[in-house]
Subunit: 384 residues, 3 copies
């Protein structure tokens, strides 16, 4: 009876701080040591590479998130280290994620995700920069979507056991991608994050992945593809560049991924092929061209007295355009990076990385621009 | 004695999370289904209506608030789905509210509100978009103040019992406006939220409202009026449009409101008349013109197994200018909307709404522009 | 044995709200009472001074901070009352602080600070605006760094006892500067907060300070200096102004500080000399010129029934340029201010201040501009 009377009392309403959580991270960088060529830069990677670069904050993220109901999860992530189009002020605020998941079943094995979120294309795109070893994503995979995100609606499916595995791959320091389902499909605007939609068609994407345990090791192969029509924005155009009258170009890619999680040796490889807008310096025009590229990553996980060390080596190649840059800038990239991430405490990480790079990046204003060189890059990261 | 010694100990300092709270909401939308006319748009309502609209986030709000002292309350609300003047980046951050209330008595029956907050003009303007049924506010009432807010100082008075009733009208799902006093008066810059003041005069506003219980039903009639001088900003002007040399125009309105809260049938009506700047396509000039308009809303509240359903019908009319738009754009709006809000859980809402609209909206660049059509609009809302 | 088994259990992981805290403040102002000259303005102080000024929010700060580990502390402070270059929208969001301290020893007597933070130059610059008595910083000291901050790396040293004293000087209402070490040195970009670096050299800074207890009174003398090369940004230039071809100018200052904390009488004086870019109206050109200036502050602390009163008098002088303003605008400032800060409760403060000012501020567009006048300034501040 006493038990009955206790159980019949309503559960106390949870406090706001029990359902909403806040976490985040900050990346401070310096890229100018041992630099051999100040004209070697990479706009999408890090604007503080090269001439006149200095101390910089690459990312300042504060994340508000929570499981509000067994079927409702949300995730809001502004970035406080952004710049806005039309402004030269650094460290302005721009949205990264703002999405909510609505479970179609009680365990949310099927989930609909609405809002701005990462497009499920490429393991490296979905892996958080908080967890990635190399300071920047590879040009080949990341050229698909500037800032990795767009506005749209997505459907994800994964069995509960796999969802838990996705979660552990991040929590246990194995540098996982987070949970974008075993199967994911979606429709989205297609102009990349925080840019206005410019046509009446949506992009579509599909992805299949599966994290497998084999002999104590964890591997994750994946396949993914997207298709749509990208409209080059007039504010991306150099005066004088030729282009299709309606500025519309096909934008299609497919990619294969293989990941061996570092226990202690890790290996990661991704490659994508497709087509999209690309500046052609011979014709001074933006044309639909083929693109292809990817990367190989070797890493190792060393734990010593509560400290973590992750030495890594990454080699990447890309030949294609970057649709979101000036005149759909043309790229050919060969790059090798050797570095180590050191976590003396969970709240602090230091990455030291040597980059050897050979980059051709050409637009109407710089139609003949190949830069080679090396540089040492430093990043201190705070996790809270 | 033991009791004495206990009571003489100082109360422990409350933790920050016990005095400061965080909540918010997110609205994701899609407006392109069953669309009959892509030229039918509404700039103040939702920029993702019509041609080239896609998935959009209409509002991303994180609210920091708290009662810091019996006489001090604060409320900070940035919006993370805004655009800034001079920038095409979507989902930048712009302030909605930043105000604090200082009670002149211990119960704060008299309160001074300082900072940026909503102008007490129009029930629909003060009701949060988190609670409103129709996806956008009516043109007639909302054309008074873009984003409903301005910088100023306000004095609100309400008896404690009425303050509690205002609070319950929101908490109990009756779609109340929040507590802007039984009597409210204020002075404010008059150029609307986040826009620089352009003259040396302040606008003034006054409002009287009273929520009454009659036979188990709750009604709330209100009267309100404001007066000031609006200065059309040069960055609003089309090149070639004629206007007063000093760009100063009278800006005056009065409005009547009647609300019957939905228990279960609800009814809401507002109408305002006034004068202000308005583009005249016959003379290519911005002139002081009369304006009038309002809306009727019928709604119903249905509760079923912990779920909430609010079917609604709204009809609106407006004839006048929008002072904050290009050339003080001229409008004539006839619109009917039929929809339903469904809350399967408190943290998630889905609104489906069919809009039938006939809109004339004309400025110097589009001096002959009447658009008619229908469209189905969808909104998913997250509450946290 | 029971005790052993208890102590061998792992400590529960702290909740997020136990390691991350949120606090902040808001300043609402009105500057137009008893104004004798609407052309008397001060861009760096407060843009709502003078003609067409109205109600304004000078600062809206939300601070996320915490001690994450005995050696790791972080502090993130966006401001929600900023404007961005290229945009006229008020109340946009721009970063103030984003730094983390990494202790080199367990007590963090030696700390490395990385990210964007205040440059240790000038007591008034380092003292938070939340604590300062006068509404704005003095032109002489504050012209060193717009918004007081920059991106860089700093090393601070202070003994633990002094670190605790720095902390108490703020907490006990003595209007301290916070803990920037007894000795601080650093390297930073040198273009001031949120502006892109424009050269390949860093600025350097050094400071020594010491808070001493003498006969029940606390004093703090300090010396500080910085050196670097400032590059005038092209978007600061009036069309037609003459300047060095490479826009590079030396930027060097040294300053002396003396503070007597108010127990109950307080006294504060700072003076700096140096050289930097300054517009010369006789030659229409930006030239390297000498600069000097500082202030004297007398204050008093009165506590009455839990309320705090701080009457104060400040006199300031400055003759030099402001490198971050249009054409490195030339200034000569003589100003006296008499005011009182009243804190009826810890969460609310009201400052009333009368300013008598004589300001010459000249650039290429206004080469002959001396303004004299008086005005009453009001500020209500919320602390949370």
């Amino acid at each position: 009876q006493a038990a009955d009377s206790v159980s019949s009392e309503p559960a106390p309403t949870p406090k706001w701080y029990q359902t909403v959580s806040i976490r985040g991270y900050v990346q401070a960088r310096y890229n100018r040591l041992l630099e051999t060529n100040p004209d070697l830069t990479c706009e999408q990677c890090d604007r503080s590479w090269g001439r006149n670069g200095g101390f910089s904050l690459r990312r300042i993220r504060i994340i508000f998130f929570g499981q509000l109901h067994e079927r409702v999860y949300f995730y809001l992530q502004p970035d406080f280290a952004s710049t806005l189009s039309g402004s030269s002020s650094l460290n302005a605020t721009l949205l990264r994620d703002a999405y909510f998941d609505v479970g179609l079943d009680k365990a949310s094995q099927f989930r609909v995700r609405l809002g701005q979120s990462k497009i499920p294309f490429g393991f490296e795109n979905m892996q958080s920069s908080q967890n990635r070893l190399a300071l920047d994503r590879s040009d080949g995979i990341n050229s698909s979507f500037s800032n990795e995100r767009d506005l749209g609606a997505f459907l994800y499916w994964a069995p509960t056991a796999v969802r838990q595995r996705f979660s552990r791959l991040v929590k246990d320091g194995l540098k996982g991608s987070g949970d974008y389902g075993v199967v994911g499909i979606g429709a989205f605007n297609g102009q990349t994050a925080n840019r206005p939609e410019l046509n009446n068609q949506r992009h579509v994407v599909a992805r299949v992945t599966y994290p497998l345990e084999i002999g104590g090791q964890l591997i994750e192969p994946a396949l993914q593809a997207y298709s749509g029509e990208y409209v080059v924005n007039r504010d991306q155009l150099s005066s004088g560049v030729k282009h299709r009258p309606d500025l519309r170009y096909p934008d299609q890619r497919m990619a294969a991924t293989f990941v061996l999680y570092p226990q202690p040796f890790g290996f990661q490889a991704e490659y994508n092929v497709g087509r999209g807008p690309e500046f052609n310096p011979r014709t001074d025009s933006i044309e639909t061209q083929r693109l292809h590229g990817g990367y190989l990553l070797l890493n190792y996980r060393l734990q010593h007295k509560g400290q973590q060390f992750y030495p890594f080596l990454r080699a990447q190649y890309y030949d294609g355009g970057k649709k979101h840059e000036r005149d759909a800038r043309s790229y050919q990239v060969r790059e090798a990076e050797l570095g180590v991430e050191w976590q003396p405490f969970p709240s602090f990480e230091l990455v030291t990385m040597y980059t050897l790079s050979n980059r051709r990046f050409e637009d109407f204003q710089k139609p003949d621009n190949r830069q080679r060189g090396g540089l040492l890059r430093l990043q201190a990261q705070l996790n809270f």
